[in-house]
């Protein structure tokens, strides 16, 4: 970073070039009937952690694919640190680090070899490669795995090694595609901590996830994506605050048509909105009701409505609205 003249951060002025800029991006795969990405626009400030939240198939990975020069856009504009990724993919590759959705470690090399050779691809001078690899292995808690073949690493260890690899050439923007999918809770937490640490060090991060907790916890701003479109973009707090209703009540109900019940509950006094979360073939349907004021205060009225309609409540959950509720409010369905 020696040539960087001034420290950049989220508070950098409006004149600063966005770390990532996407304008009206469209991607249609050959033979596909619909656009995988359908006119997405957003900009990420230097030093920001930006999350793309949406269900599988929403277009998150394709957007990342275009930004990381692996997917050719159909139209629109995509740039990293001001470099147009379509016009100058080679230039773009030198400023980005990529953590793909599927592990793609080089199994012909050991863990440290993966880092050292990655640095070689990126022209890091030979004497710096080894010490840098050791340092990153240490930071990722992998010092004792330097000689291990990637095949023998656990899922969490492999993911940390992939993150370390993405950092070997000191990228300005790190892209993380579903960074903790498939990891056990502990490994997931470790990855989250590392991402937070990188963000604290000023690395711009763009991550995708279908996990609302992850998006809310890690991101400065979250873009909610569905069917290739960006539905809403704001800080997690603002997104949730924008919802009507200040508490949620989840009800597991048997003996009623969930859609009809949803309409009935929506009409109950103090209710801001109701959605069907799940309708399993067997067992109770789950509905989520957003209410004004205290969840406990609204509960008797809701239970009474269900009983009057002839249904039976088998479980109740009280909570606060989350990003998932924002998504449900926007799309009418859950994230998974």
């Amino acid at each position: 970073m020696s040539t960087q003249t001034q420290p950049t951060g989220i508070h950098a002025g409006p004149a600063a070039t966005p770390a990532v800029e996407v304008v009206d991006l469209v991607k249609r795969y050959p033979k596909a009937k619909v656009n995988a990405v359908d006119g997405i626009s957003f900009a990420v400030a230097p030093g920001e952690v930006f999350g793309l939240l949406g269900p599988n198939g929403a277009g998150k990975t394709t957007t990342i694919g275009v930004l990381t020069t692996r997917v050719r856009k159909t139209s629109g504009h995509a740039a990293v640190t001001g470099i147009d990724v379509a016009r100058d993919p080679v230039g773009a590759r030198s400023v980005i680090g990529v953590v793909p959705q599927r592990p793609n470690l080089d199994r012909s090399l050991d863990a440290k070899g993966n880092l050292v050779w990655h640095a070689a691809y990126h022209g890091v001078p030979r004497p710096r490669r080894g010490p840098l690899a050791d340092e990153l292995l240490e930071r990722m808690g992998l010092s004792d795995k330097a000689d291990t073949n990637p095949d023998e690493l656990s899922g969490g260890q492999a993911q940390r090694l992939i993150i370390a690899r993405g950092l070997m050439h000191d990228p300005r923007v790190l892209f993380l595609d579903e960074p903790s999918t498939g990891l056990d809770p502990q490994a997931r937490l470790f990855v989250h901590d590392r991402v937070a640490e990188l963000a604290a060090n000023g690395v711009t991060i763009v991550l995708t996830t279908h996990d609302m907790d992850e998006a809310a916890k890690l991101s400065d701003r979250v873009g909610i994506v569905d069917h290739g479109e960006l539905l809403k973009l704001d800080t997690p707090a603002n997104l949730v605050a924008g919802l009507s209703g200040s508490a949620t009540v989840d009800l597991d109900v048997t003996g009623l048509d969930p859609e009809q019940l949803r309409h009935r509950l929506g009409a109950v006094r103090g209710v801001a909105g109701a959605e069907v979360l799940a309708t399993p073939d067997e067992g109770p349907a789950r509905l989520r009701v957003r209410v004004e004021g205290e969840a406990g205060a609204a509960l008797p009225g809701l239970l009474e409505e269900v009983t009057t309609a002839g249904g039976r409540v088998s479980d109740v959950g009280l909570g606060e609205p989350t990003l998932e509720d924002v998504f449900i409010d926007l799309t009418g369905r859950g994230l998974r």
């Binding site: 070039t17 640190t81 990126h122």
Partner: protein, 268 residues
């Protein structure tokens, strides 16, 4: 704009360095498994050499001097086929299952150059596979005598043959699906093995015209014939200029198709 210094890439890597990095990885991996690589490339030609060059000629079924004809053919065969296999098989697996090549596709290097690296690397393996045949030939065969003044031309022919092999490997590796790679190898490699004029001089099979035409389509023919012209000129052979021209043509043709195929597989 005040932020101009920031918009410029802060460290533009020269493509040459990135290319050498990617090539270095392949060479280092080969170096680690050099023993198994050498034995892999030696077994088949060794037995061909031993049975046809030694056993059958000792028994009198094959005229003395046949070994002299066979050895350049086997050098040609290995240069081409080892290069084909070094590129094709790993690429099929990389693109379909392991995706291990992705990290190299993200190197600051054009995707076309990553494809060229594959060809160059395959050619290096082909050259090694070919050169290790020389000491083996001298050890197994009794009567090998080469016209040493033909060595520079031989080196050029082997390099071109190995590059053509690497380019052909790129074509196969990017066009064939993993489920078909076994069948493709069986129906492509074996005919290449026997139609490359490696075990017979091309000009003397004129009585089998149709077979001669098929052999003329196999790039190995031009390596083998060129080597005979350079090392054992007493055996009838195709002229050197024809061999060189045919090999350059093969490199350009397969290189162009292979690089296109590679870019198609690498980018969505």
């Amino acid at each position: 704009m005040t932020a101009v210094t920031e918009t410029e890439p802060f460290r533009r890597v020269s493509p040459g360095r990135a290319f050498l990095g990617v090539l270095g990885r392949d060479v280092a991996v080969t170096g680690k498994e050099l023993g198994s690589f050498i034995s892999q490339v030696l077994v088949q030609p060794f037995f061909l050499l031993f049975v046809f060059g030694k056993v059958l000629s000792e028994l009198g079924y094959i005229a003395p001097g046949y070994a002299q004809l066979l050895l350049p053919g086997l050098l040609a065969l290995n240069a081409f086929l080892v290069a084909v296999q070094a590129v094709a098989l790993p690429l099929v697996i990389d693109f379909s299952y392991t995706k291990e090549i992705e990290d190299r596709l993200l190197a600051p290097l054009s995707t076309q150059m990553v494809a060229v690296e594959k060809i160059v690397f395959g050619a290096l393996r082909g050259l090694i596979g070919s050169l290790v045949m020389i000491p083996v030939g001298y050890l197994v065969l009794d009567e090998v005598s080469w016209d040493l003044s033909g060595l520079p031309l031989s080196a050029l022919l082997l390099v071109l043959g190995a590059l053509a092999g690497g380019a052909s490997g790129l074509v196969i590796g990017t066009l064939v699906s993993p489920r078909r790679i076994n069948i493709v190898f069986a129906v492509v490699i074996t005919p290449l093995l026997f139609t490359g004029s490696t075990q017979f001089p091309f000009l003397q099979i004129g009585s089998l015209r149709w077979f001669q035409v098929i052999c003329a389509l196999n790039p190995i023919t031009y390596v083998a014939e060129g080597l005979r012209g350079a090392l054992t000129p007493q055996i009838p052979h195709l002229p050197a200029w024809l061999c060189l021209a045919a090999l350059v043509f093969a490199c350009v043709l397969f290189g162009a198709i292979g690089i296109r195929g590679f870019v198609r597989r690498a980018l969505d």
